[in-house]
Symmetry: C2
């Protein structure tokens, strides 16, 4: 432990001939202070090098800030489950320093669910919000209200065009597609690639993988201009049909041995891959879902590109906490996160 020759508000009160109350007022910009006094206090703070004592402050306030997290409801072993677990992890560590967190989860296919969840969130009157946005317009409604109430918020995963958020944390989608091209081909030109895609039945649903696909296409154009890219659609709601679909397709294209999916569901085609082994096949997918990781470690999937959703959430919550407790702005507003390349040889400790 270390001795403490701290400068306190008392010191700066004496120095300025004002009272602790006034000092506190300028410290927190609460208004009701004359220009002169304010300046004197500011000067004294500078000169004396005053630093607030967090413990005393938190103790005196006897309330904890609440951070609300708005994310899609998650099925087991989905991308959002990983994110949710990240929330709980950071909740624990910042809970220690006196901040509460609360999940608000909505059905990502249901606009109404999003709306009512937003309302609940606002009712909780949080000190800060982490948002994983899915519905452009409705999100704007939310952020406008947050602005009005002067509640800071950060986006994770994706970000609407509108601004005003404290920060954004997410993967560079286009680049992740580009990287994906390199991993799939191993840097060598290839003749054929199969892209397995999810049939989206609800229209109006924005496809978050569009940019990723674009990045992939550009990579292929530049490095394998003659490559034939084929698409096959599968339906995650009918897992039994997937094997049939793939078998039928491969009957006509037996020479194709490069397979890629741009969402987190590469595990859906693992059963087919396992029953049709091919040592020279390369398969690349995204995200470290349990099922994906298992396939990776068994050698069924060649590589995964992942982004530590828990890390993303942690950074988001941390940025928010620092702002709420200490009014500290994050170093950067847009934070593009590193893309992790996972293979069977480095998956173990991820």
């Amino acid at each position: 432990m270390v001795q403490n020759g701290q400068i306190t508000i008392h010191d700066i009160a004496r120095r300025t001939g004002l009272s602790k109350g006034t000092v506190d007022r300028v410290l927190h910009d609460r208004g009701g202070v004359s220009r002169k006094s304010k300046e004197k206090v500011m000067a004294a703070i500078q000169e004396l090098g005053y630093e607030p004592n967090v413990y005393a402050s938190l103790l005196a306030k006897k309330e904890k800030p609440l951070i609300a997290v708005l994310i899609p409801k998650h099925e087991p072993d989905s991308f959002w489950e990983l994110a949710a677990s990240g929330i709980d992890k950071s909740a624990e560590s910042i809970g220690a320093i006196g901040v509460d967190t609360l999940h608000f989860e909505y059905d990502q296919y249901d606009l109404d669910s999003f709306r009512t969840t937003c309302a609940k969130l606002l009712d909780a009157n949080p000190s800060g919000v982490v948002i994983a946005p899915m519905f452009q317009e409705a999100t704007e409604g939310l952020t406008q209200e947050l602005h009005k109430r002067d509640i800071p918020y950060v986006f994770i995963d994706s970000k609407p065009e509108t601004d005003g958020c404290l920060a954004y944390f997410g993967m560079p989608l286009y680049k992740s597609g580009y990287l994906c091209g390199d991993l799939l081909t191993g840097g060598q030109p290839v003749q054929n690639v199969l892209i397995v895609r999810i049939r989206r039945d609800r229209y109006q649903q924005s496809d978050p993988t569009i940019n990723r696909r674009a990045g992939f296409m550009d990579y292929m154009l530049e490095h394998s201009p003659d490559c034939v890219l084929s698409n096959v659609f599968i339906d995650p709601n009918e897992p039994d049909k997937i094997e049939g679909t793939l078998s039928a397709w491969f009957e006509d294209h037996p020479q194709v041995r490069h397979i890629v999916m741009f969402n987190s569901r590469i595990h859906l085609i693992v059963p087919w891959l396992e029953s049709h082994p091919d040592p020279k096949r390369r398969v690349v997918g995204f995200d470290n879902l349990k099922a994906n990781m298992e396939a990776l470690q068994r050698g069924i999937v060649t590589s995964l590109i992942a982004q530590r959703p828990d890390e993303q959430v942690r950074l988001a919550i941390e940025a928010l906490t620092e702002f709420i407790l200490f009014r500290k702005l994050p170093a950067r507003k847009d934070n593009y996160m590193h893309m992790d390349i996972l293979t069977r040889y480095n998956a173990e400790y991820y």
Copy 2:
């Protein structure tokens, strides 16, 4: 903000008919309390579910915990510089919650320097210590003293056989060598590999890359049993001679196009690589030093294996902080960190 219905020592004092002072005594095992009282207090704590308020405690104590970090002195753009920057980053964020950090840096080639630095560290009387150990025996001397004083410590990077630390954070060295084999060969058998090594002039200096080399060898044995592995030694203190050494060697082995180094100095051979371009060459090294990253992005180096030294340090400091402030033990004692695969396509946001 959220209301706070905390149980305080006052509550448990009333409940037991004793005073706050006595409650505090049993809370901290300070003695001078009768068996009976102690039992009553313990019971009340259980029943009421009392949890101490860290802020109040820290405030009343008027001292801040100090975390000391013991690492090798760093030249610019070295591995330990990255680690040091990690310290400063986490220092900032935990500084916010009221913990100080202090660097203690020693000459990693000088045992005496290590000893005197340890002494200084102990003089500072820290509440916790992060240690990057280089000298087995002397480290043991330090940890014994820390034990005596009941000061918790965690190891980073590598760990002595001895135990008693709160936690360890580091890269799995053997596995990193194995992974390195896969990246260098691209999973295909190869005929020749050149291993570039550093001439170590000071003997007695343990080589931290031994395990890594072992992992690499095993990979090659299993996947490229006929591969010829050659070694060339270079001296970082005589950078001018490196190009000559390599040129001479490659004169005799023009067919070799797989090159690897097991330490963080792959940048040393970049000048030679650049002046002797070969599009089919594969070069793999370790650690995200600036010079290495530049070579990666320019396509001179194929892959780097990195470990976010700053992250390692952050986790170490975090674990220590949680223990010091809240007596919370880390979830795992041995924490093997993920090995990041860096290529020119994902290096940008690392």
